[in-house]
């Protein structure tokens, strides 16, 4: 029974199945029986059968029982899953070695470096922080795996490891004493798994990391790092993306004859070759499947949950929420309450009369309330930044009556601390947004100066030199002011015809020399659908522009000659400013940082961001890019967070009446330029 058959059978039963699950079933000793079993036990509310629906131990028990009597036992426990993935991992474990990864020298830089001096400003790279890696644990586990394949004892053992260490994972950024001390064997980190897990999550190419169980931190580190630096397109089956994605695609490539339900991602690899190549890795354009049905909304959030929870799952051993209700958590004698972890999507946030916070968390099995006491200052502060609909992990204990979890720890997906600064390419990328051609407040003079600069016609030598090294120009939306975006907009327009606006814009873009590759992504003022993800500008509008311009959707994940760039217009910044304390329009990159911590571009549903419920949540930040480029709020911000460069480019529109009223001072005509080699940022002023 091969993969295609599995999918066919599943589809006949009117389910869908995730590639991971197909893989899991395929790898079973008796795939057919397992599949039958899965289909007979799977809940009706399930739409996509994932690995979480495949309970290998139950199946084992079932098939054992079946052979004796014909009774069907349907029971599930959660530990089994770990076992199942572990067994699969070990059976497929073909990685030759796992070396200590002490050689890794990740950069991290988290200080905002925004400065706005009139001419050229350089944001200097911050000092390098090395993260400690611990080889001992890796090897211990390797040996465990090697020595004890496929046995129940491994399961228990792994579980123990998984439960305990996750509780007090030190954050590498918080422990500066680990600087330049690779290989230190810290007592804590010897049992710590989360960092490594995340790292491996990003970089490993093992199937097992899909499940991201603790054991996956046996990252084949150095090897993988090498590979990720190599140009990876054209190399089948070795795309160094997040493992889940990777597997996803690998699976498809392996079944290339089948243009089935999972073929979507493959089409996304649109490649624009040339001296300044662009590869579109993820982009909704041409792939929107929304037809406006309820289940699509459900699927959209399920995808968000499953992918974000996978990221967190590496760091805590979470149970399904439903299991909390079934179990009896009554305090048993002197042992104290057991510590338990769950991963859920926040469905409600409220405060008690005493000022504690209550988060309602939901996973596909149920929901549960989590209490964060205000006496726990640090945790409480973290909790006050939690947004509706983000996916978080929580560890804590259950109250006696089993109705509430008292949180001791909150985990956001975040970026792994030890993510590598990747070596980039060469040349420079110019990041702009919010041009607003057609607005009566469009700053044409400054814009023309900017075009002169791109053409290498600046007065200063320095500028001409910079211009010569520019390879890419990226526009993160709002290229024109559009029409009907807000009431009485016609009063503030110079060009009332939206197509004329684009023609005017195209005229400007035609002046840009050919050696610069232009990429245009739409924003909320553009003539595409307002619901995000937004597809690229329609073809009739693209036709006004020079041919070599790459039009992508919003958001779009690109590769610019090896540098990973995530473009998002930034509608959700409005939400983040309104709901995360300390995030302001003056420092928009702070909002992007909050997105990155949540690994999601627009966490909260139903507020200012309109969404189109697609099969895949395009807002998820996965894999972690080198640069995130946003706009929308008309202010400039540059910041670095764990080796990710966050840039919010300003605008080419002067303060509007609306902005005057809400006291928003735009930063027009300032252009961040990113050095693609070392990710240094310069800000050029054209006003």
């Amino acid at each position: 029974m091969d993969r295609k058959d599995i999918i066919r059978v599943v589809m006949e039963k009117e389910y869908q199945i995730s590639p991971e699950a197909v893989e899991l079933i395929c790898s079973s000793n008796s795939p057919e029986a397992l599949l039958r079993y899965v289909l007979s036990t799977v809940n009706d509310s399930v739409i996509v059968i994932g690995t979480e629906h495949i309970d290998l131990e139950d199946f084992a028990a079932f098939s054992a029982g079946e052979s004796i009597s014909d009774k069907v036992h349907v029971f599930r426990t959660e530990k089994k899953k770990i076992f199942s993935s572990a067994s699969i991992l070990s059976s497929r474990s073909d990685n030759p070695s796992s070396k200590p990864n002490s050689l890794l020298v990740p950069d991290s830089l988290s200080k905002p470096t925004l400065s706005l001096k009139p001419d050229i400003v350089t944001a200097a790279p911050d000092p390098i922080i090395k993260s400690s890696k611990d080889s001992v644990l890796d090897s211990v586990l390797d040996s465990v795996l090697d020595s004890v394949p496929d046995s129940v004892s491994v399961q228990d053992m792994l579980q123990d490891i998984a439960y305990e260490p996750a509780l007090d994972t030190p954050n590498t950024l918080d422990t500066p004493n680990t600087l330049d001390t690779p290989n230190t064997l810290d007592t804590k980190s010897s049992v710590t798994s989360s960092d490594q897990t995340s790292a491996s999550y990003l970089a490993s190419d093992s199937l097992s990391s899909v499940k991201a169980e603790p054991l996956t931190f046996l990252s084949r580190s150095s090897q993988v790092i090498n590979r990720s630096n190599s140009p990876f397109f054209g190399q089948e089956n070795s795309l160094p993306f997040s493992s889940s994605n990777r597997i996803f695609r690998a699976e498809q490539s392996s079944s290339s004859s089948e243009r089935g339900i999972f073929s979507s991602s493959r089409d996304e690899y649109k490649h624009y070759p040339g001296k300044n190549p662009v590869t579109v890795v993820s982009d909704i354009t041409g792939h929107s499947t929304c037809v406006g049905e309820y289940m699509q909304f459900v699927q959209y959030f399920r995808d968000r949950y499953s992918r974000l929870s996978e990221i967190i799952r590496g760091r805590i051993n979470a149970r399904p929420i439903e299991s909390l209700k079934r179990r009896n958590f009554r305090r048993g004698g002197d042992a104290g309450s057991e510590e338990i972890s769950i991963i859920g999507m926040v469905s409600d946030i409220s405060s008690t009369t005493n000022g504690h916070k209550i988060l309602s968390l939901e996973d596909p099995t149920g929901s549960f309330s989590v209490l964060i006491r205000n006496s726990d200052k640090e945790l409480f502060e973290l909790a006050s930044g939690i947004l509706l609909d983000e996916v978080i992990g929580v560890a804590g204990s259950i109250t006696n009556d089993g109705s509430l979890m008292l949180a001791t720890k909150l985990i956001q997906p975040d970026v792994p601390n030890n993510i590598q600064r990747r070596t980039g390419s060469h040349g420079k990328a110019v990041l702009i947004s919010d041009v607003h051609v057609g607005s009566s407040k469009f700053l044409e003079d400054a814009w023309l100066d900017f075009l002169d600069f791109l053409k290498g016609e600046s007065d200063s030598d320095d500028m001409r030199e910079i211009a010569a090294s520019v390879r890419y120009l990226v526009v993160a939306g709002d290229i024109v002011d559009g029409i009907g975006i807000y009431p009485d907009q016609e009063m503030e327009l110079d060009i009332l015809d939206v197509y004329e606006q684009y023609k005017k814009a195209a005229e400007y873009f035609r002046e840009i020399p050919e050696h610069i590759r232009v990429i245009i992504s739409p924003g909320n003022h553009d003539a595409v659908r307002q619901a995000e993800p937004q597809p690229a500008l329609p073809e009739n509008i693209q036709a006004y522009f020079p041919e070599n311009i790459v039009f992508v959707g919003n958001p779009a994940f690109l590769e610019l000659d090896g540098v990973r760039l995530l473009i998002y217009h930034g509608r959700s910044i409005d939400d983040l400013v309104a709901s995360v304390p300390g995030v302001s329009y003056q420092e928009p990159s702070g909002a992007v940082l909050e997105m990155l911590k949540r690994r999601h571009l627009a966490p909260t549903y139903g507020s200012r961001v309109s969404i189109s419920p697609e099969k895949k949540d395009y807002f998820i930040i996965d894999p972690v890019p080198d640069i995130i480029h946003t706009g929308h709020v008309h202010t400039l911000g540059v910041q670095r967070y764990k080796n990710v460069l966050l840039v919010n480019s300003g605008t080419w529109q002067d303060q509007t009446e609306f902005q005057k009223r809400v006291n928003l001072v735009p930063v027009p005509a300032r252009v961040p330029i990113v050095d693609l080699e070392n990710f240094d940022v310069k800000i050029l002023a054209f006003d």
């Binding site: 089935g260 499947t289 909304f297 029409i483 939206v498 595409v528 307002q530 597809p535 969404i611």
Partner: protein, 1146 residues
């Protein structure tokens, strides 16, 4: 306030009403004493006057006496401020803290200002707090909330003044705002304007001026979802959301009513308010008024700015062909209701009928419509080419199908009082019969019958003009001002060359073809020169005055040279040698507002008894199905889980959920503090934590036996299919109504409102005079009701005599009457079967209800007014004396309110049922006004004019665009009659109407089906009316209705909430499980593709058809693309199972 000043007849009338009221209350008290209700007595206290109402409403003892005392010495407004001061300083009432005293003072003062009727003083002011200035001193913060709106601008503004006045007395400093707080106000008010609406929008600088200088901090609770974007998280402003109450008080109160506030400030010699001068000086010198002072009235397009689909425009601003202003008052107009000829209603495709609200260009913003057939109807061009004026509704129905163009939509009757009330400069009056007759009387002593004068022959008109120099009669005065000199000359030339006038029959004949080619026909139509087309000839009857006005003689020879003027009225006068006056100098634009209403009140969802059944009754909240509900397969039948208030019997200590114990004792709520887990006795707050305790708990109720028992109690058979209960009670102690009442209500098919009363809603229309024959009763019946003579002082004998309506008598729609009959039967059943006493109404037909007492009550108010039902009307409105409407604080600009049957009100109303939330006390009869004192009604009613004719000076003054206040002295206004018996009697009207209910029964807005159908009808009408620019209508509808709707729905689709179809639970986003986590039911979208697309096709089509601006068309195109992009799968090839199968076969 002392004794009512009225004639003996009126005194008898009031005494009779009060005697019958007392009798009814006696019966109700006997019934309620049996313990079938939360309280053994009637819970609506009676209030004879304003002072009583204020005391009852606010509940500060001693206030009523003090108000009566103060009112003898000073004006109402002064008294209001003074009583506020006295309360704050502790001279009246006693309070625990300074803060409480200030709070009560402001409320009392405000209640006095609003006649103790509206709920604003209790609901509109949330609380008063003391804040701290940066210099350490204290200041007053008044927290306004949404219901403050009902107080009206003046009372809102004065409440701030009261706050300032009382704080001085007790030594609290002024508010010193921080700069960021000032800016916050600016942003917030601008935002409020966007999300809600403001009548008046002050400029940003005005807002700054007010906030910086206002000595009291105007604060409020958040009322809107919207949050400010700048100026967030300010220390002294507790919310980032918009505070609606604050915005209203600042913008519609202080900013708009600054002159009134200033008057009081001056009177009271208060310092610190000098900035009002800047405010008044700076803003009020608006261009509009300036222009209108300079004898120019400019078109105003405000009323058509927000056009809604399906509500047609009847005339663009001040356009020829629109409503022609006519001054006067009919017995069913005034008080913001205007009259139009019923044929206008018919020919405007039935969109207007009695009670339909029109948004008008002037004098106010809106007006309700009434049929007045003594004014001119529309002038139409028929398909035959005839130009006819249709004054008669019968003719209108006959001609309706032949109408090609509505050249002129006829006259609109507006009374002087409405101009006075709105302080709108008087627009030039047209030359109408009422004016002409003064000129005639002054010049001519001949005795000519009035009928002939009203409709003279051309010979008589010319004779009077020639012999006595009386201006040319209005009948032969054409709209010369609507044509220009070129048109005039062309017309003159054409008539002279091509015309054929026969002196014998007075008919001017013009060749049709040449008329059409030269455009002369069009000019004739502009002049409203009526004509007929026969055998290719245009026939103009009685054409001589017209010919003379053109400066031609009987032989159509030019007898005078065209004078050198651009004023064609003047030209006509000079050429003819007569005095010719403008026939339609003032046009009034209008569009439809909301349709008239006459319908029973249903809550949403509707309920017949306030008894909670949770989800046990399904989505219909059916009590019957709840009685046999079982939670699980083997659960107990009829056991339901609901929230109830736990009560305790003081006598036997038994616990129950009802207000009476089995032992007969009244129970009391058993209060718990859920936090401290203790029972709270004899205290408002928990002794441990100070929080408010509650008696509410989730209980399992043996509903089945309660249900059975209730049926047994009232002796009804259990065969009802549907009795609608409620899911959950809203009142604080969860007091349910007796189920028996629900059974009887279901039996008689009546529905209740949140307070337990049954109501019927109708649009308010004023009525000052009635005829027995038009309200479905007889003169004999009228005499029985205390009417003795007609309006001319003759004894009342015939059914068609006009009599003056008594102030508390009501005429309701027949449908309302039928509902009242059902209520009466229900009340009788209740009295007999539930209370075990005698029936009260014994009514079999609606005629039996004539004379029954009613309670009138308006939304946002808390005081009912006693009324008496005297007749019925076909129109879907509620007619009452303007004073009756004013005592509910309504005018008649399209508002609606309700009536209830008195016995139903006093039997079933209980304060215990009222929702325990903001606004809960609104729209409930907390007190009942028994007698209308015109002095104590809304002051607007004092501006009603009641003479039989307007003086000549008035018409002359209008030519100079005088301010209406200059004429107050010579007009017979209600205000001049106050304090005399004439305040109730001998009102007159200038224009009669033969049937107050003439016209279509219902507006076609209500009878047409879908919005698209309405829109088509609206555009078809726009195409027909000369005064309407159809493409402009199309563009405006697209811009202000369809596009916002499309964009709004598109946006809400992408941010929508989900809903469980089983239990109704709403979700902010879909649950990850897909199904409802509460009940496992199916969850569905709340916004569907259909809702988003609804107006797309019609918008595209209309945009094309009417050639709207390319900007608007492009917007539609973009929305179209957006919708396609969102709802269409972009993958060209849809991959299904079959594709997959073939793929796998490969």
């Amino acid at each position: 306030m002392g004794e009512t000043i009225a004639s003996k007849e009126m005194h008898e009338y009031f005494d009779e009403l009060e005697a019958r009221l007392k009798e009814a209350i006696k019966i109700a008290n006997t019934a309620r004493a049996r313990g079938g209700d939360p309280k053994p007595i009637v819970e609506i206290p009676l209030a004879k006057d304003l002072a009583d109402r204020v005391e009852n409403l606010i509940g500060v003892d001693g206030v009523a006496a003090k108000i009566r005392e103060l009112e003898n010495k000073m004006s109402r407004e002064e008294a209001a401020l003074e009583i506020g001061r006295q309360v704050a300083e502790g001279e009246v009432g006693s309070f625990a803290t300074k803060k409480d005293a200030v709070e009560a003072a402001i409320r009392v003062s405000m209640a006095t200002l609003t006649e103790g009727v509206v709920a604003a003083p209790i609901e509109g002011i949330d609380k008063v707090e003391l804040g701290k200035n940066d210099d350490g001193s204290q200041y007053i913060r008044i927290f306004y909330s949404g219901p403050i709106r009902s107080a009206g601008g003046t009372a809102q503004a004065l409440s701030v003044l009261v706050g300032d006045y009382v704080r001085r007395g007790i030594g609290i400093d002024r508010y010193k705002p921080r700069p960021e707080e000032v800016e916050r106000y600016v942003e917030e008010i601008l935002l409020y304007k966007k999300v809600a609406s403001l009548q008046y929008m002050p400029s940003e600088d005005e807002i700054r001026l007010i906030v910086k200088n206002c000595p009291v901090c105007i604060d409020g609770d958040p009322t809107e979802e919207a949050e400010v974007e700048g100026h967030r998280d300010l220390e002294r402003i507790g919310t980032n959301r918009v505070r609606g109450g604050m915005c209203l008080v600042l913008a519609e109160g202080l900013a708009l009513k600054a002159p009134k506030v200033k008057k009081h400030v001056n009177k009271l010699n208060m310092d610190g308010w000098d900035w009002l001068t800047t405010l008044i000086g700076g803003a009020k010198a608006g261009e509009d008024e300036e222009n209108e002072q300079k004898n120019k009235i400019k078109p105003k397009d405000k009323y058509i700015r927000d056009l809604i689909a399906g509500r047609p425009v009847f005339s663009h601003p001040s356009r020829p062909g629109g409503f022609r202003l006519r001054y006067g008052r009919s017995r069913n107009t005034s008080f913001a209701a205007a009259g139009i000829n019923p044929s206008t209603m018919v020919l405007l495709d039935d969109f207007i009928t009695n009670g339909t609200q029109l948004k008008v260009e002037r004098p106010g913003k809106a007006a309700a419509m009434s049929a007045v057939d003594s004014i001119e109807g529309p002038t139409v061009r028929l398909r035959s080419g005839d130009l006819v004026r249709v004054d008669n509704i019968k003719e209108a129905y006959e001609l309706r199908s032949q109408v090609e163009v509505i050249v002129d939509i006829g006259e609109i009757l507006i009374n002087y009082g409405d101009f006075l009330e709105n302080n709108h400069p008087l627009m030039p009056s047209p030359y109408v019969f009422e004016w002409w007759i003064y000129d005639y009387e002054a010049a001519c002593s001949e005795e000519i019958p009035e009928e002939e004068l009203k409709n003279p022959s051309s010979f008589l008109a010319l004779r009077l003009a020639e012999e006595y120099e009386v201006p040319l009669h209005p009948k032969f005065t054409y709209l010369w001002h609507d044509i220009d000199r070129n048109e005039f000359e062309a017309l003159r030339k054409f008539v002279a060359e091509k015309g054929n006038f026969s002196v014998e029959d007075g008919i001017l004949r013009l060749p049709l073809k040449a008329c059409m080619e030269s455009g002369v026909k069009f000019i004739l139509e502009k002049l409203l020169l009526l004509h007929r087309v026969k055998a290719d000839t245009i026939l103009i009857e009685e054409a001589l005055p017209f010919i003379l006005c053109l400066g031609l003689d009987h032989q159509l020879k030019e007898k005078a040279k065209m004078p050198d003027t651009d004023n064609m009225v003047e030209a006509a006068a000079l050429l003819s040698g007569f005095k010719v006056l403008p026939r339609a100098p003032s046009r009034i634009g209008a569009r439809m507002g909301r349709p008239e209403k006459s319908n029973l009140r249903k809550m949403s969802p509707a309920a017949q008894v306030l008894f909670p059944i949770g989800n046990a009754g399904g989505i219909t909240r059916n009590i019957v199905s709840a009685s046999s509900y079982s939670a699980s397969m083997n659960g107990k039948i009829g056991e339901i889980e609901v929230e109830m208030g736990i009560r305790e019997c003081p006598a036997c200590g038994k616990e129950t959920y009802f207000w009476r114990c089995d032992c007969g004792e009244y129970t009391r709520p058993k209060l718990f503090c859920h936090r401290c887990k203790i029972e709270v006795r004899n205290s408002e707050t928990c002794p441990k934590c100070g929080r408010k305790p509650t008696s509410v708990a989730n209980v399992k109720l043996d509903f089945h036996s309660i249900y059975k028992q209730a049926f047994e109690n009232v002796g009804e058979r259990e065969k009802m299919a549907l009795i609608k209960g409620v899911k959950r009670l809203m009142n604080g102690q969860m007091t349910p109504e007796p189920l028996e009442k629900g059974i009887l209500r279901a039996k008689h098919n009546v529905y209740i409102f949140k307070d337990g009363t049954v109501r019927y809603d109708m649009s308010d229309i004023p009525l000052t005079h009635i005829r027995a024959d038009e309200i479905g009763i007889t003169a004999a019946k009228l005499r029985e009701l205390g009417y003795v003579e007609d309006v001319y002082g003759k004894p009342l004998e015939r059914d068609d005599q006009i009599v003056c309506l008594k102030v508390q008598d009501l005429v309701i729609s027949y449908d309302g009457g039928e509902y009242m009959l059902r209520i009466a039967k229900y009340v009788d059943d209740l009295l007999v079967k539930y209370y075990g006493v005698e029936p009260y109404y014994n009514a079999e037909t609606i005629q039996d209800l004539v004379g029954a007492l009613l309670i009138g009550l308006a939304p946002h108010t808390s005081a009912g007014v006693l009324g008496r039902l005297i007749g019925f009307t076909r129109a879907s409105v509620g007619y009452a004396h303007p004073f009756f409407h004013a005592s509910k604080r309504r005018n008649c600009d399209g508002d609606e309110d309700c009536v209830m049957l008195l016995m139903d009100g006093i039997l079933n109303f209980s304060r215990s049922y009222l929702p325990d939330k903001r606004g809960g006390k609104m729209d409930a009869p907390l007190v009942l006004t028994t007698r209308i004192d015109p002095k104590e009604v809304d002051k607007e009613a004092h501006n009603i004019d009641v003479p039989a004719r307007y003086p000549l000076e008035f018409y002359k003054a209008t030519q100079e665009i005088k301010n209406p206040t200059e004429l107050e002295g010579i007009m017979d206004l209600v205000s001049s009659r106050l304090g005399t018996p004439e305040q109730y009697d001998h009102f007159m009207f200038t224009h009669d109407t033969s049937d107050i209910a003439a016209g279509p029964l219902n507006s076609s807005y209500k009878t047409l089906g879908s919005m698209i159908e309405k829109m088509e009808a609206q555009l078809a009408l726009a195409d027909k009316i000369r005064a309407v620019d159809a493409p402009d209508v199309a563009e405006r509808v697209l811009k202000s209705h369809f596009l916002p709707d499309l964009l709004g729905n598109l946006r809400s689709f992408s941010r929508q909430r989900m809903r469980c179809i089983k239990c109704g639970e709403k979700f902010r986003r879909p649950p990850l499980t897909g199904a409802c986590p509460k009940c496992g039911g199916n969850v569905v979208l709340t916004v569907h593709e259909g809702a988003v697309r609804k107006y797309l096709e019609i918008s595209k089509e209309i945009g094309e058809r009417y050639g709207v601006s390319s900007y608007t068309r492009q917007r539609i195109e973009l929305v179209d693309n957006d919708i396609c992009s969102l709802f269409e799968n972009h993958r060209v090839k849809q991959l299904g199972l079959s594709d997959f199968m073939s793929g796998s076969a490969r």
